[in-house]
């Protein structure tokens, strides 16, 4: 972990210099008051509204975790020739991401004292975001194989693409959440959310080495395509 703090510090610098993430910081600051204003429960007694207002913060935490990946393609050469352990580094980033999420959830619990179902839902929303972003990044890194009209959109971090993409996937996700809740009932639904969260956290931890391999392979491929042109 010797170099971690130095590198993380510069990741924060990178993040702040990314207009999209900076915009998210501002959006979070603007959205946060809604968290206090919105009612804790809806007419039918569930506590989803309070949970949803936390979503921008989760998006931000997720962006903080993934943005350095996008920057990697430009500094991969340098980091590949020095004893820099990518996997160790991104696992640490992942732990930090989970830590931020945990802090937010604890803060929500302290302020709103929601029920266990809402807590499970928030945790699940946060880690699902990570998976969604992984899928987009993966597609982004594979963009050269996609249709040329989509080529420019699939750069993984295009704000429009991210907004639309995350919107669509989150809608599907929320519909399936409500579907699950309706089918399973509150108790089993909560267990299911906790289970899904744990599975995603663990699977992602083991996915990180393969994500790095994919990025390295893609870097080689880009270079070779550039040479061929």
């Amino acid at each position: 972990m010797k170099y971690t703090w130095t590198y993380l510090r510069f990741e924060l610098f990178l993040i702040w210099n990314n207009p999209f993430l900076r915009m998210q910081f501002i959006a979070c600051a603007l959205f946060s008051p809604f968290f206090f204003i919105m009612p804790d429960t809806t007419a039918n007694g569930n506590q989803f509204p309070a949970s949803f207002t936390i979503l921008p913060i989760f998006c931000l935490a997720n962006g903080i975790y993934y943005y350095p990946f996008s920057k990697l393609s430009t500094i991969m050469d340098r980091l590949s020739t020095i004893p820099f352990n990518f996997v160790q580094h991104f696992r640490l980033n992942y732990i930090l991401f989970l830590l931020i999420i945990a802090i937010v959830i604890v803060a929500v619990y302290v302020v709103k004292q929601p029920n266990i179902e809402s807590i499970a839902l928030m945790a699940c929303m946060a880690v699902v975001l990570v998976l969604i972003n992984f899928i987009f990044s993966y597609l982004g890194s594979r963009r050269l194989e996609l249709h040329s009209a989509w080529k420019m959109q699939f750069n993984g971090f295009n704000p429009v693409f991210l907004f639309v993409g995350i919107g669509v996937v989150m809608s599907i996700y929320m519909l399936s959440i409500f579907g699950l809740k309706y089918v399973m009932g509150n108790v089993w639904f909560t267990y299911a959310l906790i289970g899904i969260t744990c599975i995603i956290v663990i699977v992602h931890w083991f996915l990180i080495p393969s994500i790095m391999e994919e990025y390295k392979a893609q870097k080689h491929k880009k270079l070779e395509l550039y040479r061929e042109q």
Binding site: R78, L223, R227
Partner: protein
């Protein structure tokens, strides 16, 4: 540290851009790569640093194949181009970052930064708030080279290091490289377009042309003339 390339081949589509059946660079040699654009110099250096994959063959540093081991990274300092810079850092931060990665003590890092100040001509280090990305091209080049030499390497790989350097820094760099080679037996690979620099610095010079080694010579007092005559001939051809 000996560097060896065996049956090394790199193709782009059907076009072979580099084919080196065998090349051995003995430990402690200053080795120069010369060639016109597209000769395969940078491709060779990229293969030696495992930045691209060979279609056939491999490169070894000591006993390690570079594409199978990470061990060589601990004793290799390299700078190919400005994409090698972590340009969102300040120069000092970059050197501290490298120093930490290579297990160099803090005091030693500070001493080294102090020593390379001469190479920077009093600029670069100590400019508060100035990031590498906002330095001039020449100073970025100096940062990259200093970063490669900073880490007590046994092997140094530099691609066209004299480009963008001012005359004083060019002279200083040659002295630095010769000094490292003599004091620590560092193996140094340098590619360049400049015949003067290569003939002055290197103990051995290899000319690449269309991916093939066309000349391999030990450097002596006549090397510069030989090189000039070779490239004059290539024009007349």
């Amino acid at each position: 540290m000996e560097i060896k390339a065996l049956q090394l081949k790199k193709n782009y589509k059907d076009h072979t851009v580099l084919h080196i059946p065998e090349l051995t660079i003995p430990g402690g040699q200053i080795f120069g790569l010369l060639g016109n654009n597209g000769a395969g110099k940078t491709t060779f250096l990229r293969l030696a640093l495992d930045l691209i994959k060979a279609d056939e063959g491999y490169v070894t540093m000591g006993t390690n194949k570079v594409n199978e081991s990470e061990e060589w990274k601990k004793y290799t300092g390299s700078f190919l181009d400005q994409s090698f810079l972590l340009d969102f850092m300040k120069p000092e931060e970059y050197f501290y970052f490298l120093g930490e990665l290579y297990d160099i003590r803090k005091q030693e890092i500070e001493d080294k930064i102090h020593r390379i100040q001469q190479f920077f001509g009093g600029e670069v280090v100590g400019l508060k708030g100035k990031l590498i990305r906002s330095l001039s091209t020449g100073n970025k080049q100096k940062c990259g080279i200093a970063g490669a030499l900073f880490v007590n390497p046994k092997v140094v790989i530099l691609d066209e290091p004299f480009n963008s350097l001012d005359p004083s820094s060019q002279i200083l760099l040659k002295l630095l490289l010769k000094d490292m080679n003599q004091k620590y037996g560092t193996t140094i690979i340098v590619s360049s377009h400049d015949l003067n620099h290569v003939s002055e610095l290197c103990q051995r010079v290899v000319i690449l042309e269309k991916g093939l080694i066309v000349k391999d010579m030990e450097a002596n007092e006549n090397t510069l003339e030989e090189l000039k005559s070779y490239f004059y001939q290539s024009i007349s051809l």
